[in-house]
Symmetry: D2
Subunit: 278 residues, 4 copies
């Protein structure tokens, strides 16, 4: 009996949990763990259930559709390693951390490739026997650069794109193509210090705590739905560069945490906010 | 339709959630929020559900008992203010914090009385128009002292006894009388620094983080099931007294957090560990 | 030999620590603890030293002025309880926390009075035998209201004004009158969510961590120099009201922390940032 | 003018800061940053000063010795990359993190070699072009095994040995040979859960926060002076294995933090406690 992951979201209605668990019961599935949430403002229902059973997934989904509202999103799939492509520019710490986690089998993912607009990180990535694609943005307009990236991505068909300190802005067209599938780490405690050089902004403002934010990329780079955040105390003795150094540990840990949540199917998107079943 | 709180715990079995939600559905209850957990080691099932409906609680519990294992614990009660009695000795911070929360209506509780083995805190408590009982332990053996306390408690019939820096050890007989109903704050990050003067122990050991632990009191004062813990960084410049001062904020916040969890029926006890549905 | 607190700030110059400690040595002062900092960007020097000795403070300051740059700020004073006036509106938690700390002798301060634009908190304050002044803003323009407040303050001559959830904006004239002497608690992780209803803003943005910020009040209410900040994790299940409730503990702890730092003379203001010697 | 690091520790005496800064002033050194601490219990003085100047270090130390107590420890050295050897067993996360930091130039160190009692990590280390020494403990008694390790170490003469989840106990003889130069990461919030399988112990005890502790190794593996600690919240849903997984991030961050503090000469050892100038 294989472990499978059931995700449902739909408008709330009376008896939903009863209806869903009834289907699972009749099909002889065992519930291993179960999270539900109803957003009180919009009366929308979210459910993530780990089940064990042997009925074919298509049959289960079909049965569930009979008892759920017509607009429900229903997915049942085996818990599996999801392929990702990591984007980086020149900074080592987030990419390096993901590579070590990968060989440590710490995340349910397969890193299919790394794409960068610079060649600096190529030796590191090759040490890990992962394809590295240097797609330079020099002498290319944004559309042409993204087209070149898309051609690389088409080879790998990743489930998620992970921006591990990738310092290029993406076009709305590119983001739309990989909707809800791009994860970014922003080196500030969003929504504070949106935009360029957030550690310099934090220093100028004299904050006593700095943060990092992992989020789903939507059109606007720094305002997408937040998946995870982390913070670290700083003081007057931290220069902007000192904050940036301290922030590196934060960034890599928060990005990895968000990626784990996404890969384990714990994140639902709802009206620019996330429901995260931890 | 009144909001009510349903608590169930029993050995796990296939279809439990289905069975319970079926009863709620048939009795026309609406599920407002729902937490379930199955302890993987012991296969024990825990459920806390906030429901709205008008069927009489006795009928609902009766119906639920039909579908649950015979050994199940089932309770359905309106969310309400639970009476407590607070125990203190001489320290102000935890008691004072509870008193301010009380007039601020911050916790779902009614503080029926305060009991202390010293008279020092009497003026403070009287300012808040709460009965203060000075039950001295002088010239009384432990049994006689506890008997005097029990006589006070019998006037109030509190649901919980809250030890807000009460510096007396309780006998197993007393603890047994109020089983799972005594909450204590211990001024260390248990199980480190069990026993007397934990801040001195922490200082001697040179720790860089101190903690506080709120727990259910069982026979052994410092080893009861943990409800909540908190921590605070310290450094070499903290003396034991400096750690104690810094720790006061921690103690009052952690005790209040644990008390809120208990009063909101979010805490289940299982084999010396707690399941806490936050 | 009384313990005294020496504070110096001036443009940096070679040999400053040598010069200052030389004066202290010649006047037979013992250094108990010592903090120095030179801001690398502006080359400004800050020093806070706890000393013990019997030479008269005026003589020491005179000697120090001989060896320091002409523009130096120098202050030597016994560590003492500083009088404050607390401002509140209707919320209990920050004011109540300060009152309990006051009777617990937890902060080096004397609370001379409480001023509020509503009468709601009067019974609480009177329980603590502290004068309560209800200075209503009804039927008064802002200038007249502040004039009435100033008249109350003139009775007490407090060193600091502590805004414990005081929900009125202060005029630049008022702020200028008590320059660098007004401490405010803002219920967000500044600079995020400046302005009204920050918890609603935080909820709308879907943040995973909320914060509170204690700062010195300058002209613009929410942009003054930050003294201390604190944070707390939240999740999708927190409504704006739930965040506000969770935030109350944060607000009172962060305000008390900042007030302690100010009262212990650990805070220097420099170009809209603070140097805090913890 | 090179930046140099001055470290002094000695019994406290009146005028020490004056005397030391006087020497620096006369030799035309500029103080860039300065930390002092006097342990109140033992009246011992600690000082770490970053200075810039061109006088030869030997001359400076000679001058300082004239003004300091005879038992003073005085060291002046250029801030430089210190060679280390990393010990590991089979776990990837701490070692991998150090390797990525190394190529990222994140720590002031040169990793001379990695020693392991298993061969599992050899491919990873070789990817980073760092010598890997597999020194098996099979068919060797403890003394013979350590002798083989010492022979490897003698090739590299490292300043520090970093135990990155090295799962072997060291003999007092070995520890004495590298006194105050061995840094270990212990996967618990010491002194809680000393000994084997701390995550299992933490799970059994039902703690709500787990920790990791980096410390200097003394005779007794888990009781050496603490350099840095970190914590992470857990709950009833964490199995011992789940705690261990969550703890991996903690362990690597805390170990790297402690190593940075040691390499930057910020750690003084005093009576089984550390003074850490952050």
């Amino acid at each position: 009996m294989k472990t499978q992951l059931l995700r449902i979201d739909c408008p709330d209605a009376k008896g939903l949990v009863y209806a869903v668990t009834g289907v699972l019961y009749r099909l002889d599935f065992n519930i291993i763990s179960n999270h539900e949430f109803v957003d009180p403002a919009t009366r929308h229902f979210f459910m993530r259930t780990v089940v064990a059973g042997s009925a074919p997934p298509e049959a289960v989904v079909h049965e569930l559709r009979q008892v759920l509202p017509a607009t429900a999103t229903v997915r049942l799939a085996p818990a599996s390693k999801r392929p990702i492509v990591v984007f980086a520019t020149k900074e080592v710490h987030c990419l390096g951390d993901l590579l070590v986690r990968y060989i440590d089998d710490d995340l349910p993912t397969h890193i299919s490739a790394v794409i960068s607009n610079y060649a600096d990180l190529e030796p590191l990535v090759q040490q890990f026997n992962i394809p590295f694609h240097h797609v330079s943005h020099h002498n290319r307009d944004r559309a042409a650069h993204e087209q070149a990236i898309i051609e690389v991505l088409d080879q790998y068909k990743p489930d998620y794109l992970v921006l591990a300190k990738y310092m290029r802005i993406l076009t709305p067209q590119f983001v739309a193509r990989y909707q809800q599938r791009i994860i970014n780490i922003h080196h500030s405690f969003l929504p504070a210090f949106i935009g360029a050089r957030p550690y310099h902004q934090a220093f100028e403002r004299g904050v006593k705590i700095i943060g990092a934010t992992a989020h789903i990329v939507t059109d606007d780079l720094d305002t997408g739905p937040i998946i995870a955040q982390g913070v670290l105390p700083v003081n007057h003795a931290h220069t902007a560069a000192g904050m940036a150094q301290a922030g590196r540990d934060l960034e890599k840990i928060v990005l990895a945490k968000a990626l784990r949540l996404v890969l384990e199917e714990r994140v639902f998107l709802h009206h620019n906010r996330t429901i995260v079943f931890e």
